[in-house]
Amino acid sequence: MKLLTLNFLTCARKQCKSTAAAFPLHPKEAELEQVEIDVNPLFIKNMLPRLDWEAMKVLTQELGLPNLPAETPAAEELANEDGEPSQTLKDLHILLMETSIATGKLACGNCGHEYAVKEGIANFLLPSHMV
């Protein structure tokens, strides 16, 4: 699953839903893979305002990926003066669009429950006593 997907998910348990600690989910024992995709500058630009930048910083740190800038990059930083995609945009593209968790676990920071990721598909189904 793409790292970007984690921007939209929380722990699936009701008791965690309204707690800040249930977001983002924390990757454990994650095996990453890179899936090449064409760069879409418009997409990165319009995606940025939706990103929880703090959460993305936590994720990159936990996964041992290169650190993100302290603040969300401004739209102007996404293109060079000649209008070509900047290094910042390319880095964001690689991180958000191409970096995926192939296998591993996703842990909730509130209840500690771990969800499995297998063959790139995360399973958030809970046993009935945990819903």
Binding site: M1, N7, R50, I121, V131
Partner: protein
């Protein structure tokens, strides 16, 4: 008519096969009224909309929305995510979507970005207020009971299992009382999962008493975040029964805040 994504790789032993309801959803999303409405809710250059389909099955509807993003949403910077309770369906959805996107690229069409297929009970895993367009083709057939898993149920087990396949197939169709048991649960999640500009498209059959369903949605309390009232309209239908046709799609959204 836009081309329908290929699903020839999908194993229909345990995944719902695209049917009249799936095609009605495709037609609805591509209709002039809905493409205009979608564009007015998430205009080009507003933050990228997140499109979530719940109960993707083969993935045909989500793949269609992703591949034809330019024509439907008027923009290619949309994100699509699929949820299903059936792990086989999550995998099939990913394949169907990626294949459709690849074909769209080949045809030089503006397609959106498919994120993932994930396994979840309806929208339980979604971050609150994250979804801009939600699509749901529910198990809407009225049945005496909801399906219960066979003994020693293991969805991950490879190979074939008749009991498991029967269970997974009935999950996609059996809706319990009035065919509404699962849909009622999804409806109850909408106020917290939809964004302020969020829209939900839900397929219903005549047995679901759609007029009653829409009436109760219009009575939902006014949301605190950004105001407005809940609206629900029938936006398409198929079948030739009198009154409410056999199948229909309703659109649920929030009005502008009142001055």
């Amino acid at each position: 008519m836009l081309p329908t994504p290929s699903t020839s790789h999908v194993n229909y032993d345990h995944i719902y096969e695209p049917s009249e309801d799936s095609y009605l959803l495709l037609d609805t999303l591509a209709s002039p009224t809905e493409t205009a409405f979608l564009r007015s809710q998430s205009p080009a250059d507003s933050p990228s909309p997140l499109v979530l389909e719940v109960g993707t099955g083969s993935g045909v509807v989500l793949a269609f929305a992703t591949a034809h993003a330019g024509l439907i949403f008027g923009r290619s910077d949309i994100l699509t995510l699929g949820i299903d309770v059936n792990p086989f369906a999550c995998d099939a959805t990913r394949q169907t979507a990626l294949l459709a996107v690849k074909e769209a690229w080949g045809a030089q069409q503006a397609s959106g970005v498919f994120l993932d297929g994930v396994c979840s009970d309806l929208t339980a895993v979604m971050k609150p207020r994250s979804v801009d367009v939600l699509i749901f083709n529910p198990p809407y057939v009225p049945t005496a009971n909801l399906p219960s898993p066979p003994e020693k149920y293991d969805a991950d087990a490879s190979g074939s299992s008749f009991d498991r396949d029967l269970y997974l197939s009935s999950l996609a169709t059996d809706g319990g009382v009035e065919g509404m048991e699962i849909t009622h649960r999804l409806l109850a999640q909408l106020p917290s999962v939809l964004s302020r500009r969020g829209i939900a498209y839900i397929l219903l059959c005549a047995g679901n008493k759609p007029e009653q369903v829409m009436g109760s949605i219009r009575n939902w309390p006014t949301p605190h975040d950004g105001g407005g009232v809940w609206l629900a309209e029938k936006v398409s239908s198929s079948g030739k029964k009198a009154g409410w046709e056999k199948l229909g799609v309703i659109r649920i959204w929030r009005s502008e805040a009142q001055g």
